[in-house]
């Protein structure tokens, strides 16, 4: 467990199924059904920029190195079909289906 000294105190709802997310060495839990970016923001973790939270602006672009996930619709101007096949996605659209290891992608 990491110290919460510089973070808001946040309690996960009890009995919420959650996945362990690692982004560039930072860790947090993402409740099932929540997107990675919203979980990160709710917990006060600051490892990705937060923009539109709607798959349009592309500032939260990442590559998923390990794990299973689904995505909600993402702007094709930000993630091409080829990118998507390589595991590139927008964190605000990623719904984890297992623990995930993720790296930020800067355009």
């Amino acid at each position: 467990m990491q110290p919460f000294s510089h973070r808001p105190v946040v309690f996960l709802k009890e009995n919420t199924m959650s996945y362990h997310i690692t982004i560039d060495g930072e860790h947090f839990n993402c409740p099932k059904g929540q997107t990675v970016l919203i979980a990160m923001r709710t917990l006060g973790v600051d490892c990705l920029p937060v923009g539109c939270c709607a798959g349009g602006c592309g500032v939260c672009k990442v590559i998923v190195l390990e794990g299973d996930y689904a995505t909600k619709v993402m702007s094709r101007a930000k993630v091409s079909i080829e990118d998507e096949a390589k595991g590139i996605a927008l964190a605000c659209r990623i719904l984890p289906e297992s623990d995930l290891t993720i790296c930020r992608v800067k355009d």
Partner: protein, 307 residues
């Protein structure tokens, strides 16, 4: 000098999911859905608008701005401006009447900022929504959400702000109401008006052409803005900034995002502009104060989050 462009007329926006977009623009912002066409486009308006519609939504895999249309006085003005645009060196094309529902022919051109604009002289006027023509009530029953009054303006981002400003001033007759000036005196943001409003369109410098920063809808009062912010939380809509006040135009504002990531604003109040007013100037070094007068700083993604 005014050239017969009288006001913003419409904006066509791309959204990734039409039904989600309608929950947002119709049910949350409170625009009125007036029509759908055989291309799948949905037409909406603010209740105070006299025209049949002002917002056109079209489904796409890439969100953002298709075009903004300005209404001109009449057909002679439209023809004159078309020639002036061609003479000025713009590439101009034309859409026939009816291509956009209930709208006359449209003259289209691309500004040096990379944004597509169009001019039109005719669109069906169905009157203010829910109000009688004679002895009208001040507002109609059965409005929803934020009860937005009208589509008001856009802020667009792209290169060549000075050249875009020159085109809007010299050919279209807009005035520069407010500007942000860099230490070397280049204009990095131009707020422009074709009316008495503080701005009908604004341009801010960025390397990527044709970007939408926000599309803005008018609310009546500061209290309406607070309630709009409540609605954003109630509907789990992503808020960007506010409620707060702008330095530029001194309007009161909230920024938030539609479900495709297009930034919206609802605002009220602010300055006015007569064509003889000199521009209000803000220094680029004080951009924090210019944009967010209370916060005094711009959060890092404000000028990067674009569609």
């Amino acid at each position: 000098m005014r050239k017969g462009v009288i006001r913003p007329g419409h904006i066509q926006l791309r959204v990734m999911d039409m039904e989600e977009a309608l929950k947002h623009y119709r049910d949350l912002i409170g625009l009125i859905e007036v029509n759908r066409d055989d291309k799948g486009r949905v037409y909406l308006k603010g209740w105070t608008e006299v025209d049949k519609y002002s917002l056109v939504l079209v489904e796409s895999d890439t969100p953002g701005l298709d075009f903004i249309g300005f209404k001109v006085l009449n057909d002679d003005v439209l023809n004159g401006l078309k020639n002036d645009l061609i003479e000025y060196g713009c590439e101009v094309s034309e859409f026939p009447a009816g291509e956009l529902d209930s709208c006359g022919r449209r003259v289209s051109f691309v500004a040096p900022s990379g944004h597509t604009f169009e001019l039109f002289a005719d669109k069906e006027q169905t009157g203010k929504w829910g109000l009688a023509d004679i002895n009208p009530d001040p507002w109609p029953l059965n409005l929803t959400g934020m009860k937005a009054e009208r589509f008001d303006h856009c802020l667009l981002m792209g290169p060549n702000v000075p050249a875009t400003q020159a085109l809007f001033e010299q050919v279209l007759g807009f005035g520069l109401s407010e500007q942000v000036v860099a230490p070397d005196n280049t204009v990095v943001a131009a707020f422009m008006s074709c009316s008495l409003k503080a701005h009908d369109i604004a341009f801010v410098d960025c390397p990527d052409p044709g970007k939408l920063h926000h599309v803005s809808f008018l609310l009546e009062t500061w209290q309406d803005l607070l309630k709009a912010a409540d609605l954003l939380t109630m509907t789990e809509t992503t808020k960007d900034v506010g409620p707060t006040r702008h330095g530029l135009t001194s309007g009161q504002t909230i920024y938030f995002f539609d479900p495709s990531g297009n930034r919206n604003e609802v605002f009220c109040g602010g300055d006015y502009y007569y064509p003889d007013h000199p521009p209000v100037t803000w220094k680029a070094e004080d951009l924090g104060k210019a944009i967010f007068y209370h916060e005094l700083y711009i959060h890092p993604t404000y000028l990067e989050v674009l569609t």
